[in-house]
């Protein structure tokens, strides 16, 4: 690991100031960052430790929502009573991610900003446009079984690895950010960006921007997270879906909110499927139409075409169970 300077931020404003310099990075739980530093994938010159900032509360907001501090541990958020009751999709997504000991370290802010697990990104002996812009993307022709089928570019086919972010994208959470120019709020999805020709930028954040909280709006009691992976537990998603439904007594879908994981550079909000479901009867036929609307435009690569029918099937089944 390359040498770096370490400092612990006294408050959020001091953290933002300390992180404004070239080569500075925030440290929270460290579960991804420390690993990437060991691998030489990232080589910060200065770590600004924000893990002890007082962003560790979970508070009710007006309207039945929740404000979650960025330093709240994934494990604590997953078992928080209000989350289990009002946003089961979020609790389930958190518990589907990583392992018990990792969730004890990992924070909400860090989870959002974790990097792709694309094997070329993590291997400094290989080209990677995300790690070294302009060096190329061997994943397009190489090992891409687990990579994107939607929204990728010739420059990058990486997927975003977070489960939590998929649930937050379906919920429509907003991310509170403190930067050099003050506070602002970024809606999810919207924090993460598609790779385009600048895959080195995972998000729309600027240097020194600090996530301080995530705010959840209207509760989503009828919601679910379903994850498909290569082993029964402790594995990244091959495909996942976070779904929230509002169904009339007569079986008409008022609204469905759906986000997909393991398919794109971002937690993928399935707007085409949502549009197909709005006002439709909650039937298998509607779910199939919605899944097709979202996945027909997919552009799978040589070895991940299996994800398209997999995603379609899992989406249909998840919606059927949710709306039953």
């Amino acid at each position: 690991m390359k040498a770096f300077a370490y400092e612990r931020a006294g408050d959020a404003a001091a953290a933002v100031e300390a992180a404004a310099v070239d080569g500075a990075t925030y440290l929270a739980g460290g579960t991804n960052l420390v690993d990437l530093m060991k691998l030489g994938v990232v080589e910060p010159q200065r770590l600004v430790d924000v893990s002890r900032l007082p962003h560790d509360g979970i508070e009710d907001t007006a309207g039945g929502g929740l404000r979650i501090g960025a330093a709240v541990r994934n494990a604590d958020l997953a078992v928080h009573e209000a989350v289990i009751e009002r946003y089961p999709v979020l609790s389930q997504a958190l518990l589907a991610g990583a392992s018990g000991q990792l969730r004890n370290l990992a924070t909400v802010g860090g989870n959002l900003l974790q990097r792709t697990r694309c094997s070329y990104f993590q291997d400094v002996s290989k080209p990677c446009n995300k790690r070294r812009p302009g060096s190329g993307c061997p994943a397009r022709e190489g090992d891409h079984r687990n990579l994107a089928i939607l929204g990728h570019s010739e420059h990058c086919v990486a997927t975003h690895p977070s489960d939590m972010a998929v649930a937050l994208a379906a919920i429509g959470a907003s991310v509170h950010v403190l930067g050099a120019n003050g506070e602002r709020t970024i809606p999810l999805p919207g924090l993460h960006r598609l790779p385009g020709d600048k895959p080195q930028h995972d998000t729309v954040l600027n240097r020194g921007d600090l996530i301080t909280a995530v705010e959840l709006g209207a509760p989503a009691p009828r919601s679910v997270y379903r994850k498909v992976r290569d082993r029964a537990s402790f594995s990244f998603a091959v495909f996942s879906v976070a779904a929230i439904a509002d169904v009339d007594d007569d079986g008409t879908i008022r609204e469905a909110r759906i986000a997909l994981g393991g398919v794109a550079h971002v937690p993928w909000r399935a707007e085409r499927a949502e549009a197909a479901l709005r006002g439709a009867p909650a039937t298998a036929a509607s779910f199939a139409v919605a899944a097709a609307a979202e996945l027909d435009p997919a552009q799978p690569l040589r070895d991940n075409a299996f994800k398209v029918p997999l995603a379609r099937s899992v989406l249909v089944r998840t919606l059927a169970e949710l709306c039953a």
């Binding site: 690991m1 770096f4 440290l27 690993d35 430790d49 893990s51 018990g100 537990s233």
Partner: protein
Amino acid sequence: MDAEIALHINGEEHRLTVDVRTTLLDLLREHVGLTGAKKGCDHGQCGACTILLDGRRANACLALAVAHDGARLTTVEGLAGDALHPLQAAFIERDAFQCGYCTPGQLCSAVGMLAEAEAEGTALDAHEIRERMSGNLCRCGAYPNIVAAIADIAT
């Protein structure tokens, strides 16, 4: 860059000067002489380095020591009192290992996991134990007996 830190390890206070790159795992093994926590993958994927960090299970390989200045650590060496920890006794009773390399991590993880389940009020069946222990790999495949040993303590 070096930093001076204090850690309470298995009930003893240690004052140490460490390079800020030092992980808790390397600190325990190389600076304090506690080699119970094992270096398996060193990337948070195997769980062999699991310790209790302020009472909660954590991967010591991914935690920078400097960031945990002031923390209380319990390693496998600190689980037993005058007698073995009940879980250690259960591992022996159930023959819950083969080579034993993953065992310190399995033990610390299970102690933390049992406390988590108790705090949540969750009953643990074999399926739930497997799910909650999925961060600890055993290349010998001793899982059936590990699950049985934990189940003995959980009930």
